[in-house]
Amino acid sequence: MGQITLQKVSKKFGNAEVIPPLDLTIEDGEFTVFVGPSGCGKSTLLRLIAGLEDITSGSILIDGTDATDQPPAKRGLAMVFQSYALYPHMTVRKNIAFPMRMAGIDQAEQDRRIEQAAAALNLTDYLDRRPGQLSGGQRQRVAIGRAIVREPSAFLFDEPLSNLDAALRVGMRLEIGELHKRLRTTMIYVTHDQVEAMTMADKIVVLRAGVIEQVGTPLELYRTPRNTFVAGFIGSPKMNLLEGEEASRHDAHTVGIRPEHIDVAEEGGLWSGRVGVAEHLGSDTFFHVHETGLAETITVRAPGEVNFRHGDRITLSPRLEQLHRFDRDGARIA
């Protein structure tokens, strides 16, 4: 079980309000990702849930009981830290056993759970090593193992993949995803990387300056961003946001069009411009187009085989049905 409810939760550090009062419910078994640029308060929010920080006002309910004043250990949550926070003086086995030792679980049960977790995480051969002797990915798995054996009602991940190299990150992403599928336990995952958010989440919470901008499934966020901030944050490369005359033509203050929703051709398009940098990824090619008279740069995603060079003049055709319209305050116009 692991339903987590935040009611009017706020946090001040001194006089600075980091998180204005907010409400949020995370359903049992859900994989929720907090995403936002650095400094948006997502880690703080996670630490409030963990109990590592006091909330200034409001209350936190875990499975319906008020956990606001409970110390971290009593909340039945497990956390995986950005730095993994492994105990360097203990072996992998001892690291994993530590929470159980603290909970006073008997030795046989401890061993059983360690074996199980180690097998699941491919750590069996490393149980007697110390964290210092492990690679980054292995350390990550130990940290997860330490979280699993507690059989918590929810897992909290604080940017767990940011210290890994790109290839490993993709692998670990999948492992965590599969773990979730297997355990069906609530997971809250903090990241600043929208790709991670999109690929892993059941539900994404987009935060900016402590305020929730939008909550929804990845596709909801992709298809119907509630405002220009979410529109610009979700999706890669970023959505092109245009103001001025082009926007007015669509009765909006701002219009947005994603790079993958623009077609390129040598001629005949709606807009025209000159190719700046062309990034050839093989499957796709990104063109950064200048001199369109609409914005500094318009990014376009074209199939890999399309081949224009720096300096070529091209034309662009936006698919108008995929156009997002926003008002003066940046809110979506339905």
Partner: protein
């Protein structure tokens, strides 16, 4: 990446460093050498370096005159006891300062250090009266407490700087894992800080060992450590360099040997963890 250096440069470095090192070490070497001389050779001009008749006579005389083992044992108890006691009191304090800093933390830390600036002579008489009142004069326990208090600020500061190097996330992890404050400090923080604690222990052991004001003024016979032992050889009837050297060697040898064996920890300790 370290760059390779020409052999010539390395030879010059080596020669220079060794000469300076030996120069700095020379007074100690000379004392040790002199302790094996007869009184006559000790003051001979030109000075005798290695080729003299080595004798252990001075050590025998010194041992006969004063019970070295007792002074040594007192030194060990007092220096060791005060250091360990200090560490036990300082660990929680340093934990608070390092991991739960408040606006006043630094002020408290600096205040603690400033208590070390109080001139000991100024408070000797009052303290002597207090010691009489409490029956602590010439007891090892009294001296242990005083030296612990004298060194406590340094211990707290050193531990504080070591603790600050330990990432707070690990302690938070322990807290998430269900560790109580006590378990957190005992099972996670302390073992992780072992190198820092070891060097703190060492440095303060040395400071306590060499402390000569309180140890001399608050003891008579029973609790007198090696500083009192050496005080009975300063300026004796006639100047007996060889015997003085023997007594000096006996007084500094234990700590010198300890220091050399634990050089690595000590170097760390001396840097107060504050320089990286």
């Amino acid at each position: 990446m370290a760059r390779s250096v020409t052999t010539r440069r390395k030879i010059i470095n080596t020669a220079l460093a060794w000469s300076i090192g030996l120069l700095i070490f020379f007074p100690i070497l000379w004392t040790i050498l002199t302790s094996f001389k007869t009184e006559a050779t000790a003051i001979a001009n030109p000075p005798q370096f290695f080729f003299f008749d080595w004798t252990l006579e001075n050590y025998a005389v010194v041992q006969e005159r004063s019970n070295y083992a007792r002074f040594l044992w007192n030194s060990i108890i007092i220096a060791g006891g005060s250091t360990i006691l200090g560490i036990i009191i300082a660990i929680p304090a340093a934990w608070s300062m390092a991991f739960v800093p408040s606006k006043r933390t630094k002020d408290i830390l600096l205040w603690m250090l400033s208590t070390k600036m109080l001139p000991a002579v100024g408070v000797l008489y009052p303290l002597y009266l207090i010691f009489i009142e409490l029956g602590l004069l010439d007891t090892r326990i009294g001296l242990t407490i005083v030296l612990m208090l004298v060194n406590l600020p340094i211990i707290v500061w050193m531990l504080y700087t070591y603790f600050r190097e330990i990432p707070g996330e690990i302690l938070e992890a322990a807290r998430m894992d269900g560790a109580s404050l006590r378990s957190e400090i005992l099972y996670v923080l302390t073992p992780m800080a072992v190198p820092g604690i070891a060097s703190t222990l060492l440095l303060n052991f040395i400071l306590a060992w060499n402390e000569a004001f309180w140890t001399l003024n608050l003891t008579a016979a029973k609790a007198a450590p090696l500083t009192a032992f050496i005080a009975s050889y300063s300026s004796p009837e006639g100047l007996f360099y060889a015997k003085l050297s023997a007594a000096s060697t006996m007084a500094i040898a234990p700590i010198l040997i300890l220091g050399w064996f634990s050089q690595k920890q000590l170097v760390r300790g001396l840097t107060f963890g504050a320089v990286k």
